[in-house]
């Protein structure tokens, strides 16, 4: 078995791992914004599916992938807004309303797909862009600096989100609202407005996560193509203790194991396919079990805010 891990294979695993991490990063960072402000949106997977569909459909019809991406962002934003109305203004139980949003997104994306397309079609997605100089480094250049823009974007999002959450007044407000909304309210922070912003932003990023599948990584749309990736992304937020850097670590660990699994299949290592597919889900449960650090969890997570309620 030792001859399986040749240099090209290891490089291949790194390359696929970075690509696979992309949708998880967008979705999980978006969810981290929402959760840090005290709202958990379980509808991420449904938003991703709608993002994947609208990105693909608009990209295909207009022949311009950027319009597709914009459509995915818009649809994601709207669905995030819907979640905000339900969970912030109407104060619905977030676990259940998120599942409602998921079912809505899953149903609507299948419905639109069946109504507008005759079958699974593929599209030519975003092309890789080689970064000058860095892209010419032997071996690593190909693996690290020759991706499409959505992949770079996902990795740039991590420091950006970290900066926003921990170095700006807005980030401080988000975390204050998530930790102690009553105190934030007495300081004059509009709790509901902050939560509307974070949940909508999270929705928009989930829309991009979906589009990253359909117009930059897999380049096709099919029903339920996320197969639960949105839920894994939520688990990554827990795993990463609600910090963007932690999420990055989790997403990389996850996608490298997944990439390894895919490569082992390609190389014909004898391992039942169904168990290989099972791996990320089993890993998620394991990751949740060993990483639960209650202290890091925003205190007001999942609790609707009501003025004057102590």
């Amino acid at each position: 078995m030792s001859n399986v891990f040749t240099i090209p294979v290891v490089l291949g695993i790194i390359y696929s791992g970075l690509r696979l991490a992309t949708p998880y990063l967008y979705a999980a960072i978006g969810e981290a914004f929402a959760q840090n402000s005290g709202v958990y949106n379980l509808g991420v997977d449904g938003i991703m599916l709608m993002g994947a569909f609208s990105g693909f459909y608009v990209g295909m019809k207009t022949g311009n992938l950027w319009w597709g991406l914009l459509a995915a962002m818009g649809v994601g934003l709207l669905m995030g807004l819907l979640m905000a109305v339900v969970s912030v203004t109407l104060k619905a139980e977030q676990g259940i309303s998120g599942i409602g949003l998921y079912m809505f997104g899953l149903g609507l994306s299948s419905l639109l797909f069946k109504k507008t397309m005759s079958g699974v079609e593929s599209i030519s997605g975003f092309q890789p862009v080689r970064i000058p100089l860095l892209g010419n480094i032997p071996y690593l250049g190909d693996v690290l600096f020759n991706h499409n823009l959505l992949v770079y974007g996902a990795f740039l999002l991590v420091p950006l989100a970290s900066f926003i959450l921990y170095k700006t007044p807005f980030g401080l407000m988000i975390r204050a609202v998530g930790q102690n909304p009553q105190a934030a309210d007495t300081l004059g922070i509009n709790v509901d407005r902050i939560r509307y912003i974070t949940v909508s932003l999270g929705g928009m990023l989930a829309g991009i996560a979906g589009a990253s599948l359909s117009i930059s990584l897999i380049n096709l749309f099919q029903e339920n193509m996320t197969s639960g990736m949105g839920f894994i992304a939520i688990a990554l937020v827990y795993f990463g203790s609600w910090r963007p850097l932690g999420i990055l670590g989790g997403a990389l660990l996850f996608s490298f194991v997944n990439a390894l699994q895919l490569w082992l299949q390609v190389l014909g290592v004898n391992f039942p396919y169904d168990f290989a597919v099972m791996l990320p889900y089993a890993m998620t449960i394991l990751a949740l079990a060993i990483s639960v650090r209650r202290a890091a969890m925003p205190d007001a997570l999942g609790k609707p805010f009501e003025r004057g309620e102590f």
């Binding site: 609507l108 069946k114 639960g228 839920f231 688990a235 597919v277 099972m278 889900y281």
Partner: protein, 359 residues
Amino acid sequence: MPQRSEIKRMLNQVFEAILPILAVPVALIIGALILLLLRANPGVAFTALVQGAVGSTFSVTQTLVKATPLLLVGLGITIAFRGGVINIGGEGQIIVGALSATALALSFSQWPGAILLPLCLLVGTLSGALWGAVPGVLKARLGVNEILSTIMMNAIALQLSNYLLRGPMIDPAEIEAGTRIAQSALLPRQAWLPRLVPQTLLHAGSILALVMAVLVYIFLWRTTIGYRIRAVGLNAQAARYAGIPVPVYQALAITLGGAFAGLAGAVEVMGVQRRMLEGLSGGYGFSGIVAALFGNLHPLGTIPASVLFGGLLVGADKMQRAVQVPSAFVDTLMGLIVLFVVSSRIWAVRRARRRETYE
């Protein structure tokens, strides 16, 4: 005056019961808008839907056939949600229940029906319970979010089923014929649930589900364990002060939830399909949630709710043929209904709060 407060209490119960029903017209209006966007006539579509659900004797029985797993899953969801745990693992629990009932029936196909049939139901129930107990114990012991773990358990069960139905459990006839459809062999005849109406699929499992609904009602409202589960769900902190071991009862609630979904899987195999096949869970794990919420998380309310959504599922097929709107339309509608039902609770809560202030 005890009588007046009694009447008030009843009126409030009525109000709470009809609130979810108000969500239907709203969902229907949005559904009609979606249909218009898809260039389908909403009137024709909804007429086809209703006709498909209750237009003939056969369609009525089909509605009841679909309502049966919805009711069983919904009962499990009711117990879990009442205990304050959100069980999204219905799909996986149905699958393992169906798989194990099938495996047992095929392994002991010589046993008499009087033993084999109840044993299959029991084993299906127990494996569903086991599939629910894993997230339950993880939540109780390590605080693992049960929504996420139950969803992961769904995916694991699905892969397990794919593996078994294409490998060890595949019908030998499928290998012989070379078609290799992923399904098990036909169950021995004595493990079939009896059919109630000739020429239809309506089976004894529907009666079993009704009996279970009454039993769950008695369990939740007339036994100490049921009372404690509800207490934990209503106010975990107060329950803790009252000396109830909250994590134990949360784990129990989700395990019982799994048991009912497992039973639903066994019943679906033994009553309808008579073999295990891919896609048997049919989304009941999710639509069961809708039925339970719609039934106001009350076992008896879940009965009409599951008939309603069973009809919706059956009618969707007819609608698909009549106006070429894919049946995924109904899934979309169900998602909207969940959103509306949970959102509408704010009015019940506000009313309750006003009452407290004025009295």
